[in-house]
């Protein structure tokens, strides 16, 4: 499966879906008009990877997202966690800018119920 890149727009992040390397990256800002529609290809890609039982690394490198995007981020985290509980190999990295305490706290909050390996990484 070829690598899929959704380029960033003013209100939506860049998304990289690299099946060969089991890598999903979401980078930038996320407040599209229709978050569910925007993240639909990401869920589809993720479900395919989970079905094929490939090893996954997911990098969130977001500096802002609205509440409807946060719902989508939580859904992605929940399905990764479920995959991990079913013995899938998962690594999640949550990047935040060094002085961005809010984004760090959001990462802590979103990961508090997760069992899958989740790392906070500053840059």
């Amino acid at each position: 499966m070829e690598k899929i890149v959704i380029p960033k727009s003013k209100s939506s992040p860049e998304v990289i879906m690299d099946y060969e390397n089991g890598l999903l990256e979401i980078i930038g800002e996320s407040y599209p008009e229709n978050s569910l529609g925007f993240y639909k290809p990401v869920y589809d890609w993720l479900n395919k990877c989970i079905q094929d039982k490939i090893q996954l690394k997911v990098n969130f490198k977001l500096n802002y997202f609205n509440t409807s995007s946060s719902k989508c981020v939580i859904d992605i985290l929940d399905s990764l966690d479920k995959y991990y509980s079913n013995s899938g190999i998962v690594e999640i990295n949550w990047y935040y800018e060094e002085d961005d305490d809010d984004m760090k706290e959001t990462g802590e909050e979103f990961s508090s119920d997760l069992k899958a390996p989740f790392q906070l990484v500053y840059y």
């Binding site: 209100s11 407040y31 008009e33 609205n66 509440t67 946060s70």
Partner: protein, 181 residues
């Protein structure tokens, strides 16, 4: 041409600044443009990120839920008004739009609920609601007001004015403390 004299308005708001004032059809395009304007005009403030985030929630609420639509406008949009004011110690972000009368009580109840909660309660409520959306009317995550209350750290003000048999006008005002740098 109508001659305009702004003196009365100028006098009425003597003690504060208006950083943004818009009335009209709000689309995603408008949300994005004003969002970046807010960022640049508040770039020296410590709570720019919070004000930006609340602006996006309020403006997208108008896009999604305003009863008033402009027939000529392209794509999704809703008519509303958004004003960002600055006073000595506070910023105030207000949004106004028409809502259906039968939704008014629900919105007021929600504001009361979040206003009754402290920081930790709001955090727990957010966590609960984002995983268990219960509102069939919601087009988003259903946690907008909770998120707004968390970022504002002040009570939300919700004012309702009856307009006609079907509609009311709702004004939401969100207050932000200016942080001492």
């Amino acid at each position: 041409m109508n001659s305009v004299n702004l003196y009365d308005q100028y006098e009425a708001i003597k003690d504060h600044k208006i950083l943004l004032s818009f009335k009209g059809a709000i689309s995603q395009e408008v949300v994005t443009e004003f969002g970046s304007m807010i960022r640049s005009s508040l770039s020296t403030e410590t709570n720019t990120k919070k004000i930006f985030a609340v602006f996006i929630e309020l403006a997208q609420n108008i896009v999604r839920y305003s009863v008033e639509k402009e027939p000529s406008s392209e794509g999704n949009s809703g008519v509303g008004i958004i004003i960002l004011r600055e006073k000595k110690d506070f910023f105030y972000l207000s949004s106004g739009n028409l809502v259906l009368k039968d939704k008014v009580q629900k919105i007021k109840d929600r504001c009361e609920t979040v206003n009754s909660m402290n920081k930790d309660e709001l955090k727990a409520y957010y966590q609960e609601k984002i995983r268990n959306p219960t509102d069939a009317d919601s087009k988003g995550a259903g946690v907008g007001l909770i998120d707004i209350a968390r970022k504002s750290e002040n009570p939300l003000q919700c004012e309702i004015t009856p307009v006609d048999d079907f509609n009311s006008f709702m004004t939401l005002t969100v207050t932000f403390n200016k942080e001492i740098q």
